[in-house]
Chain length 100, copies 2
């Protein structure tokens, strides 16, 4: 099965980025336990004060899709939603390299 990468942008409500990041990272038990997730790294934008970027590598697209149906993951998403102004992603497909 092909691995799956994601580079997704979360735009927080104005001034709420740190609160949103904290909430996401506090759910670290959920994060660490996501099956098929090789890495999930939360980044802050250097030049856009409300923007977070998430870099993800998964064993497969199916594993990623399944995580979004997980009850604990859905609870974290619901908790974060009021702090999120927008979501987007750079659509990519991994083709090789180190760590893949």
């Amino acid at each position: 099965m092909s691995k799956y990468t994601m580079f997704g942008q979360l735009k927080a409500q104005p001034g709420k980025r740190d609160e949103l990041a904290k909430m996401m990272l506090e759910s670290s038990e959920t994060l660490q336990g996501m099956e098929g997730c090789i890495f999930y790294i939360l980044n802050e934008s250097v030049n856009e004060p409300d923007v977070l970027w998430i870099m993800e590598l998964w064993e497969s697209a199916e594993a990623h899709a399944a995580s979004l149906k997980d009850e604990k993951v859905r609870a974290v998403i619901e908790q974060c939603k009021p702090l999120i102004a927008g979501v987007s992603a750079v659509p990519v497909r991994p083709i090789g390299g180190k760590g893949l």
Copy 2:
């Protein structure tokens, strides 16, 4: 020392993306040997036919900067240059998550 992430875009000359990706991946010995590099994953854009995206995680910004001075890395860059139309990056700072 803080870890360092990079999400960089390489735009190939029209029609040259596959050739560029192949050239980058053929230098895998150089890629695997980069000191302080935790992962370096080459992706192709799903909707932009000439675009590659590189996801990188390094032990530190210094390790990343040092790699760009490495003789073998510089040789790969020089070899790829004629196939590259443009380079840019999403400036980010990692703050937490799984695999960091």
